[in-house]
């Protein structure tokens, strides 16, 4: 065979900055692994290899040395270098990785959430991810803060800091919460690598396998996943219209759940706001049963009309409410910074758990946020995004009414990021999503927000991440999708799906 066809300088990538010997070794290794260079084949002598790749002889020697280390070639003294035989022992000696892993619950939601977080295919308008619009990130303010303050900050602030967080950050958070009527001092605050981490830590500290937890249905996917991964059984409390406190009390008596996870303001995905009287009734019930409430509050600063009612945590007189906040929705997700407010004894126990996970959260983000908050930049930024997101919400509501009114029902959200849509005809949102992909539009099917299967004729649209022109276009694509489904639905009746055994 003509080896020079496979081994020459053209196989290298000119922009590759790795040492040449390694690049050459990788080219040869690739051909061996693909059996283009079969076992037993004699390879070119070092001098010849050097010529083929136009490199020094030392480089060629090092390339063969690397391949020998990897067991891919062997050198017969006085004879030359040969492609190694696929050793009999080789398959046996490989590490069977997947078989060594601990069991992982095969939750179909995991892949859905991954898909949502990852970027969409080109040309597709994604209304899936619950993210603010990158064009609105206040990066210039952060540049200004970084540039002007780093010289005035003690370098030690970028060393190790307490697990609970960077002290000026905790102070700024306590002050911000006090403004909202939540009594808190620094000892009540734990800095988090995103509020997701708060859910994770709480599941480690409060939930054992077999325990019950209550969530709203529908609710945030990531919370369901964390509780299920902790081995919890998840009880669903319908929340689309009104929280049924009777059902919650029934759950409390029957199953003694360890906690109730709730998003009272601009709920994800429904956009619902729990009215103040419902909040008080919930707290009374919780107090009677010593129920721990985990209040997740990522959206309450994003109101487009009236301010929403005070947080449960602000109304909490029995001390059973744990509060989670984040900057991912009001600033940008890449900060990966959230916080938890709770009693010091809880903060302390959570910190012990957090130490194992990451010692403490990123100092740079906490340092930037502490200054951002202290200087009142948040209020300025919020007034900008209020104005912009309100316009987007209104545009989308108008477009949905105009183009999709026959097919969809929805309530206009008073804040947050989402329209929660109900399909009027018998189409699953999963099927709708598949059809929508053809029109290059995506969203999150309703199923993703339930821990038990739902009737699944719902889906969530995020209106925050795109400007009005794109939103308008997206609704038109959605309308086209719906029209095509209606047409086909008339052609054939849906078959009920049954589960066949796999044999």
């Amino acid at each position: 065979m003509d080896i020079t066809k496979y081994l020459n300088r053209a196989e290298l990538n000119a922009s590759d900055k790795r040492p040449l010997y390694l690049q050459i070794a990788l080219v040869v290794a690739d051909k061996i692994q693909k059996q283009i260079l079969p076992p037993g084949l004699k390879l070119p002598p070092e001098r010849e290899l050097a010529d083929l790749f136009a490199v020094s002889r030392t480089t060629a020697i090092n390339a063969y040395r690397k391949l020998e280390q990897q067991g891919l070639v062997w050198t017969k003294v006085g004879s030359g270098t040969y492609v190694a035989q696929a050793r009999d022992a080789e398959p046996l000696s490989e590490v069977p990785w997947p078989q060594l892993f601990t069991a992982y619950p095969q939750n179909p939601l995991a892949s859905i959430l991954r898909e949502i977080v990852s970027s969409p295919a080109p040309g597709t308008i994604s209304l899936a991810a619950g993210m603010p619009d990158p064009d609105l990130y206040p990066l210039d303010t952060f540049r200004e803060l970084f540039n002007s303050r780093i010289g005035r900050t003690s370098p030690a602030d970028f060393g190790h800091i307490p697990i609970e967080g960077y002290q000026p950050f905790r102070l700024a958070i306590a002050a911000m919460l006090n403004e909202k009527g939540i009594l808190a001092s620094t000892e009540n605050i734990l800095a988090l690598s995103g509020s997701q981490q708060g859910l994770y830590l709480l599941s480690k500290v409060l939930v054992e396998p077999g325990d019950y937890v209550v969530v709203e249905a529908p609710t945030f996917i990531g919370a369901i996943q964390v509780f299920q991964a902790a081995g919890a059984r998840v009880l669903s409390l319908p929340c689309s219209e009104k929280l049924s406190l009777e059902l919650l009390e029934d759950f409390l008596i029957r199953y003694r759940p360890k906690l109730f996870y709730v998003i009272p303001t601009y709920q994800n995905p429904t956009g619902r706001v729990m009215p103040e009287n419902e909040r008080r009734d919930l707290l009374n019930l919780a107090q009677r049963h010593r129920l721990v409430i985990v209040e997740d509050d990522p959206y309450s600063d994003l109101y487009y009309g009236e301010r929403p009612p005070q947080a449960l945590k602000a109304l909490d007189s029995y001390g059973g409410v744990i509060y989670l906040g984040t900057f991912s929705k009001i600033l940008f997700p890449g900060l990966r910074t959230g916080y938890l407010a709770g009693p010091p004894v809880l903060i302390n126990r959570l910190a012990l758990e957090k130490q194992l996970i990451d010692l403490h959260s990123n100092n740079i983000a906490q340092w930037l946020l502490a200054m951002f908050l202290h200087e009142g930049k948040l209020a300025q930024h919020l007034s900008t995004v209020h104005r912009e997101y309100k316009k987007r919400r209104d545009t989308m509501a108008k477009a949905l009414r105009r183009f999709c009114a026959n097919d969809l029902e929805f309530v206009i959200p008073e804040g947050g990021f989402y329209f929660w849509c109900q399909l009027k005809q018998a189409v699953s949102s999963q099927r709708l999503l598949q059809e929508a992909a053809k029109q290059r539009i995506s969203f999150v099917p309703g199923e993703a927000f339930y821990s038990v299967s739902s009737r699944d004729q719902e889906f969530r649209l995020c209106f925050a991440a795109h400007n009005e022109t794109i939103l308008l276009e997206s609704v038109q694509r959605l309308a086209k999708t719906l029209a095509q489904i209606t047409k086909r639905n008339k052609e054939k009746e849906a078959q009920p799906s049954l589960l066949w055994p796999i044999i």
Copy 2:
């Protein structure tokens, strides 16, 4: 009683920026909780309260309203505001937090590690924390990068990114590893919130309760803690002189451990470098037994003479070595960014676990590091710190020889951060630490690095965090401590300590 003594403007802190009504409510709440204002006491009318604190009547009303919400006062219409009775139901209705927590292993090391990470008492020279010197953090370079590049980066890069990490960061890490002879492409790299997180994720994915893992003895505290928290039984392999591969093989056959955690280069705490032939022998043994090796490599870039041998991962021909790296020692800990290199199937499984914990690591740090590495700033920085840390090591070695040679034995480390000292006389390092505190100096007692109790006459000194003047002073304080202990030891014989039952 004269209420005005307790309720007046002097009780407020002028620099407190919280709303006045809240500050007043906090003052009153504090007096009620301390029973200075006893239950049933009639509080000043709103107008009077307003006068006492020199605030508007509305502010006074809001303060009482807040206290009423908290259940601390109650208003009798037409009569006034009273301190609420400590309700009979009150103690019952509080949430008994600590009793709700999942069990946590009472590992005495936890508090030691926390103490090390936290800052020392004023005036004390801490040789405890394994941290670079804050004066050497390259913050100016980071300022320059942040300032000049943020405008040229897509804002979307500060939104959500893949769990596995920021792509340019993964690329830069792969290139860096290739330079070190470790074959890796981006799919082999997982970005971590510090290498501590890599240990945590591996313990979640590879270790079930009751499994065995092998560690060197002594070794990094944080690793022992993570494995123990995962329910593992930890087997100790003595490493002070030479790794006993015979004992390791015995462990492998007898206990089938899930992994071997090892720091081959400038080991923490001993400073030892595993010679190349020992590395090859270890890999051969590991290959025969399909042993998974977790290679932790925070220090190999910090050499003060010859470069150390190649990483185990670079010599690994059977694919069983998982590699952990971090920027905490070579740059600064506040970046909270590390990385793991391993087969894609493992990266994928670890990412599923990481998603639950923090979705992905901080973008800002990954973005800064990607530029820092891409532009070759790391090599510049390393040459600066090599020079500086080499001087510090030499100064400390000289001082220890001069002032402590009668009491201590140690080997001069060729790299890394630590002197590992053996006490010649029968003094526990714990006792030495207590005495040293009086001389205002601290270090880590040897016991902290063992999963089983040791003879405990060892301790670790970090020479990286202070300049030569301070190091010299610290060794003199240490010498003084040792002299006092010797004197007292001569006065009385140590009593053997026995365990008495607690009855």
